[in-house]
Symmetry: C2
Subunit: 212 residues, 2 copies
């Protein structure tokens, strides 16, 4: 059976997984989990069986269901052929993972839906604060590591994390022009088919008014 992605069009972590599948050329099926409708479909007992954190994504693959987007992507990397998502050189791998973790631990968790619901009415300025703080650090790292892509001239998991985080930044009206390396890399990535076909603007569950 094809892998089954339980995700949400606008979730940056779901988009990471869609990019990885697209880069590897893997067909998959999608089950939309609407994070807003019905008070949040991720909160059902049924979904909790798939991901006890009650977040998207979850992926059913090879008879198991995995959650946490970077764990899912590394499983795909380790079990599927196709273009490598991590460089062969250990120091370059470490740089890719530093960038991934800066985004996945240092930025995204602080501006995701669940946290912002708890913050309440200051949520936009809260999200902007943590995204800008993270992007200042990320811009400084990327100035050292980037070539055509985040780490040198080969695409990697770092790029898979970057574009969805820039998408979130733009949703929260962060001026990405402040970060020229991030902006340039994001433009390069969005021009790739693996990023455009997996984009939040064209998923099965994208509402009509948000479609590209």
């Amino acid at each position: 059976a094809a892998p089954l992605l339980h995700g949400y069009f606008r979730s940056s972590c779901s988009w990471r997984v869609r990019i990885a599948f697209a880069l590897k050329g893997i067909d998959y099926d999608q089950v939309p989990v609407n994070l807003i409708k019905d008070g949040g479909q991720q909160l059902t007992d049924q979904y909790k069986e798939l991901n006890p954190m009650q977040q998207v994504p979850a992926v059913t693959i090879d008879g198991v269901t995995l959650s946490q987007s970077l764990a899912i992507i590394q499983y795909i990397e380790e079990t599927r052929p196709g273009p490598a998502l991590l460089p062969a050189d250990p120091q370059k791998r470490a740089k890719v993972r530093m960038i991934c973790d800066l985004i996945a631990s240092g930025i995204q968790p602080l501006q995701n839906l669940y946290v912002l619901q708890k913050i309440g009415e200051d949520k936009v300025s809260w999200a902007q604060h943590f995204i800008i703080r993270g992007f200042v650090a990320l811009e400084s790292l990327l100035k050292e590591t980037a070539g055509k892509y985040c780490v040198g001239d080969e695409i990697s998991m770092a790029d898979i994390c970057l574009a969805p985080q820039v998408y979130n930044a733009e949703r929260f009206k962060v001026d990405v022009d402040q970060f020229p390396t991030i902006k340039r890399l994001n433009q390069t990535l969005l021009a790739l088919e693996a990023f455009s076909t997996s984009h939040p603007s064209c998923q099965p569950d994208t509402p009509a008014d948000l479609r590209a």
Copy 2:
């Protein structure tokens, strides 16, 4: 030269790296970065060169300086001999990484110093909320994956993440008895030399009144 760890005795992410060095039997030097003193030594321009996120840890190793604890630990895993910190089986590796990322993206970032400083006076209840929410999910995952350790009977990066997060839970007065699998695994881990010698209570920068 021996690896150089820039860390703080009580930082859970610094402790993760100390455990990895201890499990691998790697000698290293420590440079304490006091997160409280002088308004936070991680905020100096000098430290920002080592970790642009201005957080601990950072590790200087093999001529480069790396940040993000899980990226550091995987670099150690991929370049050093000694006991494996990830299982050989891809599905088990994925389970280890799920647990690591649940902690490193789903819990720790929401209760770290920087966020709590921004939360202000509600910081203890904020931290408890996110730790308990994460532990509910983690307990449910670990019930499926655990043997003697977090994933089966071999120690892994998941265990390296677990014990420091339980230490944080206890600092914030979370009742860990609610989570019997987490509690049992943590007790097993704390009895190991790699966890006791690297514990926050016995580091070079541990203040006298917090020493074990």
